[in-house]
């Protein structure tokens, strides 16, 4: 496979107060792939992923050291502006977060509107394309003006995905996007991620190992902020090299 490396994480450490939440992570991510991050709760998965788009540092008493190179540029370089960086990275959270008081259409394009420089027709086109990519277009095309919060949980989550896709980021981060959803909605989103892999790089945190084995090309296993093992999903789940990984996967701990 001639896929390029789109994201390089080098010696990444993250602190939160006195807690050393992420310890010396070194990883590389290929473009147009899906990588899952699994591990027991509270092991730094969410913190790690928030370091990748510099959201972690918004918390009080937190700091990050190390480098994260997105397409060759270190996002933690001193002259880099976190606000700008986030334009290139999309993020979806565990709880669906449509902005209240805004319609479905407005929610989809809000990222674009903030950046500016698009005409009305461009916005409309991008909104339609994003909603289609998020498998939501058919369900909302007749009610774009309705409140974003009037959708069901699964639909809201797909709306958030559409919103993230609208700014066309090469990298998409997902923090347990289906934990709050029912199985049918979950299945829809997994189907969606499968499609997304053709165009985007996805890093998804999940506590559901079956999900990871279903949709991810690669899987990383974290425990308490340490990267225990990383590799192709099929290998991790059938033949892990580290004992801790094996214990977790077989349910012996975590």
């Amino acid at each position: 496979m001639d896929k390029q490396i789109i994201l390089k994480v080098k010696n990444l450490d993250a602190h939160f107060g006195t807690l050393h939440a992420v310890k010396n992570i070194n990883l590389e991510y290929q473009e147009k792939s899906v990588t899952a991050i699994i591990g027991p709760s509270g092991c730094g998965k969410s913190t790690y992923i928030r370091c990748l788009n510099r959201i972690h540092e918004e918390l009080p008493n937190s700091f990050v050291t190390g480098q994260v190179e997105l397409k060759g540029q270190d996002i933690y370089a001193p002259e880099v502006d976190p606000v700008e960086i986030r334009r290139n990275i999309g993020m979806v959270f565990q709880k669906p977060t449509p902005f209240p008081g805004m319609s479905i259409y407005e929610n989809t394009i809000i990222g674009l509107k903030l950046q500016g420089g698009h005409s009305k027709s461009e916005l409309m086109d991008i909104a339609e394309a994003s909603l289609k990519k998020a498998f939501l277009w058919e369900e909302v095309k007749d009610k774009l003006k309705k409140e974003g919060t009037s959708l069901s949980g699964g639909q809201q989550q797909r709306l958030c995905i559409a919103r993230a896709l609208a700014v066309n980021p090469p990298l998409l981060l997902m923090d347990e996007p289906t934990s709050a959803l029912d199985p049918i909605a979950t299945a829809k989103i997994e189907e969606l991620i499968d499609e997304l892999r053709k165009e985007y790089t996805v890093i998804i945190v999940t506590h559901n190992m079956q999900q990871a084995s279903r949709i991810a090309d690669y899987t990383s296993f974290f425990v308490s902020g340490d990267l225990i093992e990383h590799g192709k999903s099929e290998l991790i789940f059938t033949n892990p090299t580290n004992k801790k990984t094996e214990d977790y996967i077989t349910g012996r701990f975590g």
Partner: protein, 298 residues
């Protein structure tokens, strides 16, 4: 890039403005406190607190009649409003559905919005006119009308915080319902209830308008509830608008005394509840009201 730059400027200006906003609170308040202390402190002597006022024009004199008057009238008002208020709150929290309960709730909400001077006029009509004189009793009733709705609502909200399953567990023990209410629920929340009450009292301490035509005022020490009685806020008012400099100075010392009294009450309330961010005033009630208004159909 141009657009991002513009957004960043907007960001900077906005954050700067809202950071400065707090100064508009801190600066006037500091000026007020400094002024109050500087003008009132030297007059706040032991003789000031223990002596009666001297006739107009003479130097010296004290404010003990107003201090005692405030304490006396507040005690009477508490005596009236606390039992009724707590029982009303208990009714609302334990038997809170139904026409009577809703009517009570709406009426109490209504009352919290009534300006205190209107309450003063009502008490004037109800008590002063039949008695044909201003009286401490009238003042106490006026204050209790002001304290009552607050005590009712705060009692209701505090008691409602106890989860339902505790009531069920107590009933399952074979305890009659009224005992569950008073000996378990109320007793269990007594310190928080007390806090709410003390805060209601501390607000009533500073009320002036309803006392203007009820307790009216007195330059002498009065101990009868049938006669007009001086209170700190009203005395401060009378001194402040008088032309005599001695009295104006005493207004400041009286004001300092009043604020110290209120602060003591507030600190007591906080200490009892053990928390320092509790709010049982309009804010608390408003938050509950807002939740109620937005969650039920209107």
């Amino acid at each position: 890039m141009n657009r991002l730059y513009f957004r960043k400027i907007k960001n900077f200006i906005f954050l700067g403005l809202i950071s400065l906003s707090s100064l508009f609170i801190i600066i006037p308040l500091s000026i007020l406190l400094v002024f109050l202390i500087s003008k009132g402190l030297h007059g706040l002597t032991w003789s000031f607190i223990t002596e009666l006022p001297k006739p107009a024009g003479e130097m010296g004199g004290g404010i003990v009649h107003a201090l005692l008057g405030t304490i006396w009238i507040l005690s009477l008002a508490s005596f009236i409003s606390i039992p009724i208020g707590i029982l009303g709150g208990v009714f609302l929290s334990e038997y809170g559905e139904g026409f009577l309960a809703n009517t009570l709730r709406y009426s109490a909400d209504l009352m919290t919005g009534v300006p205190s001077i209107v309450i003063g006029i009502f008490t004037y009509a109800l008590i002063v006119i039949p008695m044909k004189s201003f009286s401490a009793l009238a003042g106490a009733i006026a204050l209790s009308l002001i304290m009552l709705p607050t005590i009712i609502r705060s009692t209701e909200e505090i008691l409602k915080l106890t989860p339902k399953h505790i009531r069920k567990a107590a009933l399952a023990l074979g305890v009659p319902r009224w005992k569950v209410i008073f000996f378990i629920i109320v007793k269990g929340n007594i310190s928080t209830l007390f806090t709410g009450i003390i805060l209601a009292i501390s607000r009533a301490t500073g009320e002036t308008a309803p006392l203007l035509f009820t307790a009216f005022g007195n330059m002498y020490l009065s101990s009868s509830w049938k006669e007009p009685m001086a209170t700190l806020p009203v005395q401060i008012y009378n001194y402040a608008i008088s032309p005599l400099e001695n009295w104006q100075n005493q207004a400041w010392s009286g004001a300092l005394l009043l604020i110290i009294l209120i602060l003591i009450l507030n600190i007591c309330a906080r200490l009892i509840s053990g928390r320092f961010d509790v709010g049982h005033g309009p804010k608390f009630i408003f938050m509950k009201l807002r939740k109620k208004w937005t969650s039920k159909s209107f």
